[in-house]
């Protein structure tokens, strides 16, 4: 499908922020009608490059040339780049949840007739656009009623409404489950067949392997390499090597589990949805974890993994109906988060910026925030004790921060995640629930987090790990439970598990899945 004329050439792009050279002579060439993947670790400069391209960083704030459809471009803002047919879909969706699909698609680009908005025409166009991305939805549906995957497709439809020629997707699948991801990738192939060029920024190598025609790897603000690939035959290790600048023979550290007695056991756990009365989000779940064991929880987005974990953690989510928790063989009632923490249970939430951190705090205060009583002296916080405690966690977890007085908002994602881990390790738990512990952090940092998880298990802690990435679960867990629609549908030992089996159990609630 793709011919060989480049639609876009970015030549020697250099962008300097105060004190930081974010892009250093980056070169990017994208051909007409291809799907071009851009890979790189967090902070490598991928998003900055796309911001330069779309005019977020206006012409003049960078050096270098952008040649698009044969002409040199000098975009001053997003409006100009959109006019030229370049649309960018950001990692965070930017639609307004309370408004309808139609209203969102034509936001700022309203269909007018005699100065008033022609809603009938807009709705008719919306239906067409939705059809083009494979959705058949009522155009009056409010965005908040759509799943994340559908919202993503509506974003694409919105871009199509502006006659996009070059579509940029920034980590489009980071919030999608496997099914929605598959669907999105199919839609991208569809767009490609209609002659729309796509640039996809992604961390997920399997997606790149599935869909990309060529790959550009960026590291530390420089282009490392660009080469053509054949969809389905991509050397993932080559990309990883180029991204991190070293070979990662093994993405998961070696670990020999040393498991002991069952120390955490949940039975008949039933929780009702806090918003929809009568709807169960956990349906009589039973599971157990041994000391020193890493237990994975697999499930599609919305299956109720996070909800289960948060309901266990001091009933932080949902309405408790029944069920028991046994900790070291004793029934415990954890009616509040502080009771759960006292009992030695820790929950590291999935979205560290929304649920895990107070971004106004520094490393020291974050570390002690879930266990302040450990740094009290005569009822008052002892800053020396606190400093020493935080410094110890910082060293133990090798957090890259100048000191514990540095604000957590200034740290990279991987280091933030380590600080959050440190905060929970400081509560001295023996049951750790890790919800998506490596989401949004780069390959190198992931490896370190994996090692930390192993170290925790080796100390005899029971580790529960929720993850959307099956390879991660397969590489890390000693056993894996699967959840579908609020029910635990099965459990597999590491040696028996593979992606296909798990996927089957994650998508079926019937007993047939157990086979």
């Amino acid at each position: 499908m793709s011919d060989h004329t480049p639609i876009l050439q970015m030549k020697n792009i250099t962008k300097i922020f105060p004190g930081v050279k974010a892009l250093d002579e980056v070169t990017l060439e994208v051909r007409q009608g291809e799907i071009h993947a851009i890979c790189g670790e967090n902070g490598a400069g991928k998003s900055t490059l796309m911001k330069v391209l779309s005019g977020v960083h206006p012409y003049g704030s960078y050096t270098g040339q952008i040649i698009y459809q044969g002409k040199e471009m000098s975009f001053k803002d997003i409006k100009e780049s959109e006019k030229a047919g370049i649309a960018i879909i950001h990692q965070e969706l930017t639609m307004i949840p309370e408004l309808s699909i139609t209203e969102n698609i034509f936001m700022g680009n309203e269909v007018r007739r005699r100065g008033l908005i022609d809603w009938d025409e807009a709705r008719r166009l919306t239906v067409d656009l939705l059809k083009r991305v494979g959705l058949s939805l009522n155009p009056n549906t409010q965005i908040k009623n759509l799943g994340v995957g559908q919202q993503q497709l509506v974003e694409i439809a919105k871009a199509l409404s502006k006659n996009v020629r070059l579509l940029i997707l920034d980590e489009p699948t980071s919030a999608l489950n496997e099914e929605d991801t598959e669907n999105l990738l199919n839609q991208m192939r569809e767009l490609k067949s209609k002659g729309i060029t796509c640039i996809m920024i992604s961390h997920k190598l399997n997606e790149i392997a599935a869909i990309a025609d060529s790959v550009t790897v960026i590291r530390d603000g420089r282009t490392v390499e660009t080469y053509d690939v054949e969809a389905g035959h991509v050397d993932e290790d080559r990309i990883i090597r180029a991204m991190v600048g070293r070979s990662l023979e093994n993405r998961f550290p070696d670990h020999v589990p040393d498991t002991g007695d069952v120390i955490f056991e949940v039975s008949g756990w039933r929780v009702e949805d806090p918003l929809i009365p009568g709807r169960l989000i956990c349906k009589d779940s039973n599971f157990f974890v041994r000391a020193g064991e890493i237990v994975g929880f697999a499930g599609l987005m919305g299956a109720g993994r996070t909800e289960l974990m948060r309901s266990l953690f001091g009933r932080n989510f949902g309405i408790y109906q029944r069920g028991t928790i046994k900790h070291h063989g004793k029934d415990v009632k954890l009616k509040s988060v502080s009771a759960a923490i006292r009992q030695g249970i820790a929950y590291v939430p999935e979205d560290r910026k929304v649920l895990g951190l107070n971004l106004l705090d520094n490393v020291r205060m974050t570390t002690t925030s879930a266990n302040l009583k450990a740094v009290l002296n005569h009822g008052l916080i002892d800053s020396s004790l606190e400093y020493r405690a935080a410094e110890k966690e910082r060293k133990d977890l090798s957090v890259k921060a100048a000191s514990v007085e540095v604000g957590v908002s200034t740290l990279s994602g991987g280091n933030q995640q380590k600080v959050v881990l440190g905060k929970w390790i400081f509560t001295e738990p023996d049951v750790l629930i890790l919800d998506e512990p490596t989401r949004g952090i780069d390959v190198g940092a992931k490896y370190e987090i994996y090692r930390l998880i192993h170290a925790l298990a080796d100390q005899g802690k029971a580790v529960i790990m929720v993850s959307s990435e099956l390879p991660e679960l397969l590489g890390m867990s000693d056993r894996i439970y699967t959840i579908c629609e609020g029910s635990i549908t099965g459990v597999l030992d590491r040696k028996d598990a593979d992606s296909e089996k798990l996927m089957r159990m994650m998508t079926t609630t019937s007993d047939a899945a157990a086979n």
Partner: protein, 423 residues
Amino acid sequence: MKRIKEVMGGDFRQFTMVIALVVLIVIFNIISGGRMVTSANFQNLISGNAYVLVLAIGMVMVIVIGQIDLSVGSVAGFCGMVMALTARDLNFPWWAAVLVGILIGVLIGAWQGFWLAKLGIPGFITTLGGMMIFRGGVIWISKSISVPAPHELKMFGAGYLPEWGPAFTGMNNSTLLLGVIGIFAYAYAQLRRRTKNEKLTGVNEALWPVVVRIVLVGAVIGYLAWLFGTGRPGTSFPVPGVILIILVIIYHIITQRTTFGRHIYAVGGNKAAAALSGVNVPRTYFLTMLNMSFLAALAGIMFIGRATAAGPSDGTNWELDAIASVFIGGAAVSGGIGTVLATMVGGMVMAVLNSGLMLMGVGADRTAVIKGLVLLAAVAFDVYNKKQGRKSIIGHLFPGNKDKQEGGASGASGGSGGDTGQS
């Protein structure tokens, strides 16, 4: 310049704001021909503003949790009126009447806290309701007539410290003692902090900046003590000022050194993360609102002590002065940022503006215009600095919970480039 910075140490911003305040005072003193910096005017400045500053202590905590309390003026007026009425009509002794007034304040706080914490009604609405209810309440129970207050209360509203000891000091000895205690406490705190930092980080701060700092601050405290202590015979540093200082010390410790204080900042910074860290969010809301009304009752009683009678319109618009002090002191509307000490400086800026403009003969109308502009300028300055990626200047004036995140013990100052283009 480098030397100056060294003297200021980690408290660079603390000093800038205090210096701005001093410059303001000096300018007013020059324009008014020396009438600003006099014993009588400073004594008035303190006793005439102590009640607003007491409100501001509670208000900064409310704003840090991300709420606002519009009812404090009405609550202060209501509690003061209840106190005056119990003393006059029920013949309660003055101290019992004061206790009744404060108890009513605590009950009102529990009422507001209930709506916010248990029912989840935003503080703005809860206290807007409270503002109307208790304003109406004051007028109702007082039948729109002023009620004389027990004369003993004058001590708390406008009283002076006792005169004692030898006369050769040439000043009020209580004030002298207060000044000496202040200087020694500051010197002790500075030296202790230096040794502690050294022990923790191994970084040895040079001694001379600490000494210069102690001498400078000591000189200021000494001068103020002299100024307050050499007024008309029988005057001294005002009693309401002493009450205020005690409250500031207590609340500084509560906000910076206790679990509850940390919880306030945690809830204001990220409510969901706080809840997942074991913080009882409703309880934190409840206690903060309770405390606010408690302080409002205290402020109302201090004011009535000075005015010698409780009036039906006491407390009108006080909430606005308190809120303005908090924001001039660098707190964030979105919560999580703000300290008691910085709020006190913010409140003093307002007080000095009031006093200075009055001395210059500027009317209340234009004074209000100027105060409004100063509030906008201060907050705009703050926002501007945050946008530049530097840390907020006014917001991080004082050592405490929120300002060490970048400055810090080992001086890991962030300084540049907030937006470094993460991929």
